[in-house]
Every structure is written in structure tokens, then in C-alpha cells.
């Protein structure tokens, strides 16, 4: 029984949340990695693209809700998602036309594009806030839990609870589907391959008859879709607040890099590594130890590092990974 309790405690406080968080990071990292892989710059505006996409999705969700449209046990936002994606795609395509395309034409160095994306980040930042304000917004509806803590305790009679939110499950499943689809798309389809060709050698892509504007547009559309999906799922699971999406940028980049920039599989792996390291290293193992070793009453919490350092932990792991695998776990690119 105690062993079961220990197991459930680990599941509830480490495995389930870290998996969901990891999937969220992975979805964000996919977008970053895609832009990096194909357009060859670190897009700092990605966090705010996520925010924008989510904001639009929320507005549409509200409209749907007030029209009485729902999605059964699933969140209404999932119906709104395609519209959010479309709007975000339009926005980023517009941005590309007005802003980025010029720098591609003059072949500016990647760091200039990165700086440009910082400019875009500021702009989108303001735009999103103009659109939906700065407040925290909750827009999740439908069934909240797959397994709720109380039910679980009642059903099993264990002392430790276990909860799985439906949004957590949706996030993990979506992440799996999206990464598989993206991987397949890039590795197997003609368009996907042409995107990789473009990323490898733009001039030669041109000489092979690949239409660069099409590749760029495709990339942005996919990135917009990824950003909106990631942002909406994150917002469903936690809540929406424009500022938080900017903050999300840091772990998202960390995830993309640990895995190897430009590599979709890497983004997934990176997301989980960052998430698990944050949760596990700062977890207080006291309770688990007490279950496992009867009669053990430690004074301390058996916590390796306090939670203040959780970010430091994930970055330390990142640095260690990079020291042994300088282009990330999955052999990413470097411009």
C-alpha cells in the first residue's frame, strides 16, 4: 500500500504535470525550431505569436459560447482553434511581407533577423494587449478532469491523490499527433522537402525551380498553426495572460536547443527534458521516502535544491547536454 502511495505521489506531482508541461514546451519549441530550421533565425516573436493566436481563439470562443455552441466534454476553444490559426497565419504572413521579406532579399545576417524579430515581438506584444487587454483570462470549459483527486482517493482508498486534467491529456495527445505529422511532412512530402532544401541553400533551391515565396509562406503558416495550437492548449490548461507568453519563450528556446535546433524530434525531447528536470530536481522527496522506508522521519525535506533554483536547474542540464552534444541531442543546425 505504501509503495502504491509513493508511486501515486510521484505520478501525481512529477510524472503527470511534467509530461503535460513538457508537451506544452515541445509544441512551442516545434514552432521555434521550424522557423530556425527553414528561415534560419531565432524568432523571438514566437511567444507573442502564441499569445496573439490564443487571443483570437479566445475571442472566437467567446462568440461561440454566447451563441450557445459547445463541444461536449471538450473545450469549446478547440472549435475556435482553426479560426485562430487562420487569423494568426494572416498576421504572420503580413508581418513577413512587410518586415522579414526585405531582410531576406538583402541577405541580412541571421542576427539582424533575430533583432528584427525582437522588434516584431514588441509590436505584437502591444497588438495583443490592445486586442484583449492585459488581464488574466480563463476560457476553458467542458470537463475539467479525466481523473480528479477526490474521486481517485475515494475509488482507490489511497492516501495520496491522483489527478489528470482533461487539458493535460489533450495537450499530450495533440503534441504527439502534431510532431508526427510535422515529421512526416518534412521528411516525406515534396513540399516538406522543398522547405528543407530552401533552408539548406536558398540560391540552389531557386535554381531547382522551388518557389521561395511559397516555401516561406508555408513555413509561416505552419509556424502560425503550431503557435496557436501551443498557445491555446497552454491557455486552456493554465490561463491566458499576455505577459506569460513572453516568459514562456525562455524555456521554449531552451527546449528547442537541448533537442537540437531545426529538428522536430529534438523539440519534443527537449521539451520533456526541460520539464522533467525542473520538476524532479526540486521535488521534495520526503513523503515518498517516508512511504518507502517505514519509520523514517527525516528532518529535512530531501529536496536537492529549492524551487527558487528550478530554472537554474533546467539551464544547468541544458548546458551539460550541450557540452557533450554541442548541437543538441538530435544534431541540430547552426547558422
Amino acid at each position: 500500500m505504501d509503495i502504491l502511495n509513493a508511486l501515486v505521489a510521484i505520478l501525481n506531482y512529477v510524472v503527470v504535470p511534467a509530461t503535460a508541461y513538457g508537451a506544452q514546451l515541445a509544441l512551442g519549441a516545434l514552432g521555434v525550431t521550424l522557423i530556425y530550421g527553414i528561415l534560419r533565425f531565432s524568432n523571438f516573436a514566437h511567444g507573442d505569436t502564441m499569445a496573439f493566436g490564443t487571443a483570437i481563439t479566445i475571442l472566437i470562443t467567446w462568440a461561440l459560447q454566447s451563441a450557445g455552441i459547445g463541444f461536449g466534454p471538450l473545450p469549446t476553444a478547440l472549435i475556435a482553434l482553426p479560426f485562430g490559426i487562420a487569423a494568426t497565419a494572416l498576421l504572420v504572413l503580413g508581418t513577413d511581407k512587410i518586415v522579414y521579406s526585405y531582410y531576406r532579399k538583402v541577405r541580412a545576417a541571421p542576427v539582424v533577423l533575430t533583432m528584427v524579430s525582437v522588434g516584431v515581438m514588441f509590436l505584437m506584444n502591444g497588438l495583443t494587449r490592445l486586442l484583449i487587454g492585459v488581464d488574466e483570462i480563463k476560457f476553458a470549459d467542458g470537463a475539467r478532469f479525466l481523473i480528479s483527486a477526490q474521486e481517485f482517493k475515494k475509488a482507490t482508498g489511497l492516501a495520496e491523490p491522483l489527478a489528470i486534467r482533461s487539458t493535460q491529456a489533450i495537450t499530450v495527445i495533440t503534441a504527439a499527433i502534431v510532431v508526427a505529422a510535422l515529421f512526416w511532412f518534412l521528411a516525406k512530402t515534396r513540399t516538406g522537402k522543398s522547405m528543407r532544401a530552401f533552408s539548406d541553400n536558398e540560391d540552389l533551391a531557386l535554381l531547382s525551380g522551388i518557389n521561395p515565396s511559397r516555401v516561406v509562406a508555408m513555413t509561416w503558416i505552419i509556424a502560425a498553426a503550431l503557435a496557436t495550437i501551443a498557445g491555446t492548449l497552454y491557455g486552456l490548461d493554465k490561463s491566458f495572460k499576455a505577459f506569460n507568453y513572453f516568459q514562456l519563450l525562455l524555456p521554449v528556446f531552451a527546449a528547442a536547443i537541448v533537442g537540437g535546433l531545426g529538428n522536430p524530434l529534438g523539440a519534443i525531447a527537449g521539451g520533456f527534458i526541460i520539464a522533467y528536470s525542473e520538476v524532479a530536481v526540486t521535488y521534495a522527496w520526503k513523503k515518498v521516502a517516508m512511504y518507502l522506508i517505514p519509520g523514517f522521519q527525516p528532518d529535512s525535506l530531501l529536496q536537492l535544491l529549492s524551487t527558487e533554483y528550478k530554472f537554474a536547474v533546467s539551464f544547468t542540464i541544458l548546458i551539460i547536454v550541450l557540452l557533450f552534444k554541442p548541437t543538441g541531442l538530435f544534431k541540430g543546425k547552426s547558422v
Binding site: 522537402k193 532544401a197 541553400n201 540560391d203 531547382s208
Partner: protein, 234 residues
Amino acid sequence: MSFLDASSMTGGYGAADILHDCTLKVEKGQIAVIVGPNGAGKSTAMKAVFGMLRLRAGKVTLDGDDITALSPQERVRKGMGFVPQVNNVFPTMSVEENLEMGAFIRTDDFRDTMEQVYDLFPILREKRFQNAGELSGGQRQQVAVGRALMTKPKLLMLDEPTAGVSPIVMDELFDRIIEVARTGISILMVEQNARQALEIADMGYVLVQGANRYTDTGAALMADPEVRRTFLGG
């Protein structure tokens, strides 16, 4: 009118012109070779023909159509193929994917063309799943030419295709180029292995400082002692 007719091209990268009233022509199924000192503007002329350089003056026609205003990828669709001098492979894509990208604009089945390329460069078949960036210099060059052949172009432009390839491969390459030309494809190439190239050329252009210095059949240029001494290394 010639199949490819690029006449009086003038232009460059910035303020100063590199090309001065440069004219290049290729007939259908013929091989034209450009030779000249380093920095003469040979690559620049190729880029100009392919629309990668803005011309201040001059006109390019292909099969009678004026293509001066077309973008490079539109020219590809018009049947032009180009192997640049440098950066001519997709380094993080496999050899096979490089070839597939060559066939990007084709909608028919290109399996047999790929087989032909593999027959021509057997080493590529061996390395088909390796990334092109990991190949040796000469192997890359073979990938580059292979990629251009995949387009099944009407006009094939090659910028120093034999730079860095071994003699045996160079011979094979020239053999293949001749065969390609025999099927009615026109070839325009820049070569520093000039004597070998002029041997198979119908037409030769000697370019110096962006202008045509000598223009004649390949054999005639080979025979000209002045040309041999100054441009072909004796």
C-alpha cells in the same frame, strides 16, 4: 536566332560593372564553353544569363522568347538548368534528396532519370542516404551535376563542373555532357580545364574583364597559339 541568345549584357553587383557588352550564344544541341582568367566575369555572365543579376543593358532570349525579365525560378520552368560554381548542393539533405530536388518541377516519374544519374556516377548510388555535406569535394561536384540533370533541362549551364573531380570522372562527365548534347540539349559551361573542354566544344568564348575577347569554334581557339599561351596554359 540561336537557341540561347544573351547579347550585349552589361551589369555587375554594385556600382561598377563587371560585364561589358558581353554576348553568349548557344545553338540547339551544341556545347558552348566559356574560358578566361580568374575574375574575368565568367560566373557573373552565367548568373546574368540565369537572371540572378540585374542587367543594366542587354537582352536574353531562349528559343526565341525574351526572358530578360524573368526570375530564376521562372527560367527553370522554361527549361534552364544551372550548376553554380560554389554552394551547389543541399548539404544537410541526403544525396537522393538532392537529386529529388533537382526534379522538383517535374510532375512525371523521374525514377529512371535518377537511375541514369546513378549509372553515370556510381559513387552516388553508394552514398545515396548520406548527407551531401559529408561528401568529398569531388563527390559533391558529382551530386551537383546530377541534380541539374534531374531537371531534364533544354539548356544546361555548368559553372566549372570538373573543378576538383578526378581525371576519370572528368572524362566520364565530358562523355556524358556530349551524350546529353546529342539528345538535343544545349550546354553552356565555364571551364578551367579548358583544353579538354574546348576539345568537345562547338563554340568557345574567351572572356576577359567582362568582355568577349575571342569567339570561335572550340577547335579554332585550341589552334590559336595566342589563345593557348595566354589563356589555356600553353
